[in-house]
């Protein structure tokens, strides 16, 4: 009801349906062709994602934005069926705004997390049918605890807090191992990295994923295409400009120059 500031409920009262199961071809796999990662660094959380969208063996699009800002303090990185994922982001974006405007206070960080898992639960039939699975990573700044946090979900809506990092998508097995190695035995733990070092790590990790996973897009220097990298700090969400990514990629990711 409107008085409770629940936008999703309002939509449903108006006949809106989310996550309808559609019978899919038998044996269809959960399509999560992408790589997204979130890691804690010195000043907050860094979230990054490649930009490739695929359908089977075909590359559909190389400029997808999979790291989406929901409001000034939260970001959702998506792996899975883009149609469902974008719809989820739209519902969340409107839900958070509607709550703030009706209740005259921000929805708490806990409340935001609940909203994400509620949507995923609504989506279970579609996810199981194979036509709407989404495996998001949600990151945001928790004002009450004064820290940026990372949560990851399974397709059924279970929510897990990531202590140091979280990954999702088809390229994630590759970089999961690297993240563990770098974080444990690297020169310094990820959580102590300054902004630029964290960005370099993200670019290197995504390049590694692209190396071994055909569904993850790497850097395309000819077209000036770089991954999307966003930072979440107390001041809000900030996107690292392509020019900076280009500079870091050339000096810290490429070898032999």
């Amino acid at each position: 009801m409107g008085m409770q500031g629940d936008f999703f409920q309002l939509l449903k009262e108006q006949g809106y349906q989310f996550g309808n199961p559609v019978a899919a071809a038998a044996g269809m796999e959960v399509p999560t062709a992408t790589t997204i990662l979130a890691l804690k660094y010195r000043d907050g959380v860094l979230v990054a994602g490649d930009r490739r969208a695929t359908a089977g063996n075909m590359v559909m699009y190389d400029r997808t934005d999979k790291v989406l800002e929901i409001d000034r303090y939260s970001v959702m990185a998506i792996a899975g069926v883009p149609a469902t994922a974008y719809e989820m982001v739209r519902v969340l974006e409107h839900s958070f705004k509607y709550y703030r405007r009706t209740q005259l206070q921000e929805l708490s960080f806990e409340g935001k997390l609940r909203a994400v898992s509620k949507l995923l639960k609504e989506n279970v039939p579609a996810a199981l049918a194979g036509t709407g699975a989404v495996v998001p990573v949600f990151a945001g700044y928790d004002h009450e605890q004064e820290s940026a946090k990372i949560y990851f979900y399974d397709i059924l809506g279970a929510e897990f807090e990531a202590v140091e990092y979280a990954v999702s998508g088809s390229g994630s097995p590759t970089i999961r191992g690297i993240l563990h190695y770098v974080n444990t035995w690297g020169p310094q733990p990820l959580a102590t990295l300054p902004e630029e070092q964290a960005t370099i790590q993200a670019l290197r990790l995504l390049s590694s994923a692209a190396e071994f996973d055909s569904a993850t897009g790497g850097v395309n220097r000819e077209l000036n295409l770089y991954p999307v990298v966003k930072l979440i700090k107390a001041s809000g969400v900030q996107t690292i400009p392509d020019a900076d990514l280009k500079r870091l990629h050339e000096s810290e990711v490429l070898r032999g120059r």
């Binding site: 409107g2 008085m3 936008f7 309002l10 939509l11 108006q14 800002e69 409001d71 000034r72 739209r90 519902v91 409107h94 705004k97 509607y98 703030r100 405007r101 009706t102 005259l104 809000g236």
Partner: protein, 279 residues
């Protein structure tokens, strides 16, 4: 008995008189476009009177808090469902006013067996370009009007007329800085507030019984000077709180609404209001 046309007209007339009285103690609301967006300002006691409706739309109200809440919720619902189902750029002040507010308010006003909304509402909409900034205001009877540059709510049309006369006597403010805009809005607010106080007092009542036409009263008396206006603001602010919100054209993200925090607003006030009184 209201079936007879004359009775009905009489009942509506009574209603106007009743409603006009309800607003007499309310605080005027002023909204104006300045260099970086739109500013809306009022003075409130306890319950806020300025609200965020959508990404580029702010609301200012006068009247009964419960009625304002009801109307505000219906606007929020309409705006968000529309913004979700179509797109945020399809949520416009004009549509909210024409299809959301006006029919509801007019119907409640004319259904004489039921209670009317004790509410006047001002919507400010930040355009993509400055020339498309729009102000829409609606009266308790469902009459609404659009204006460019600025708009204000006051208890009666004569109060609003005086505020208009003041704003029009001032230099152009479309390129004004935020501090200059705050000062102009404060002075305009004070013109309205003083006019309401004057029509409340028994002396004014006896000399000019209920003049509601803006020409008659508007031209009658001269407007107070800036020092007197700011002194009135200063006096009022001592017991009530100033409320000021912005729609910032270059604000981050899609939602352009921002309420000024007291500390920030304090820094923008003209010295005649913020500094301790000279002895």
């Amino acid at each position: 008995m209201y079936e007879e046309p004359y009775r009905w007209i009489e009942a509506v007339g009574n209603r106007r008189q009743y409603l006009d009285e309800q607003f007499a103690k309310g605080s005027p609301v002023v909204a104006l476009a300045y260099a970086d967006g739109i500013l809306m300002l009022t003075v409130s006691r306890g319950t806020p009177k300025l609200y965020e409706i959508y990404d580029r739309i702010a609301l200012g109200g006068m009247g009964h808090p419960a009625d304002l809440e009801k109307l505000r919720f219906s606007l929020l619902e309409m705006a968000h469902v529309e913004g979700f189902n179509r797109s945020p750029s399809d949520v416009t002040g004009a549509r909210l006013m024409k299809y959301g507010l006006a029919p509801t308010i007019k119907q409640a006003f004319e259904e004489i067996y039921k209670a009317p909304f004790i509410a006047k509402i001002l919507l400010a909409e930040l355009g993509v370009k400055p020339e498309r900034d729009l102000f829409l205001s609606i009266n308790y009877d469902g009459n609404f009007e659009e204006s460019l540059g600025w708009a204000a709510l006051g208890a009666t049309s004569s109060v609003q007329g005086r505020m208009r006369r003041y704003v029009e006597s001032q230099p152009a403010f479309a390129q004004a800085s935020l501090a200059q805009a705050v000062e102009l809005a404060l002075c305009t607010w004070a013109v309205g507030s003083l006019a309401q106080a004057a029509s409340e007092s028994p002396a004014a009542e006896s000399s000019s019984p209920r003049v509601s036409d803006e020409q008659t009263e508007g031209d009658g008396s001269s407007l107070p000077d800036k020092a007197a206006l700011l002194a009135h603001v200063r006096q009022t602010v001592a017991e009530k709180s100033l409320e000021c919100v912005l729609l910032e054209r270059r604000g981050p993200g899609s939602a352009k609404y921002r309420a000024l925090r007291p500390a920030e607003l304090g820094g923008l006030l003209p010295p005649a209001v913020s500094e301790p009184a000279a002895t």
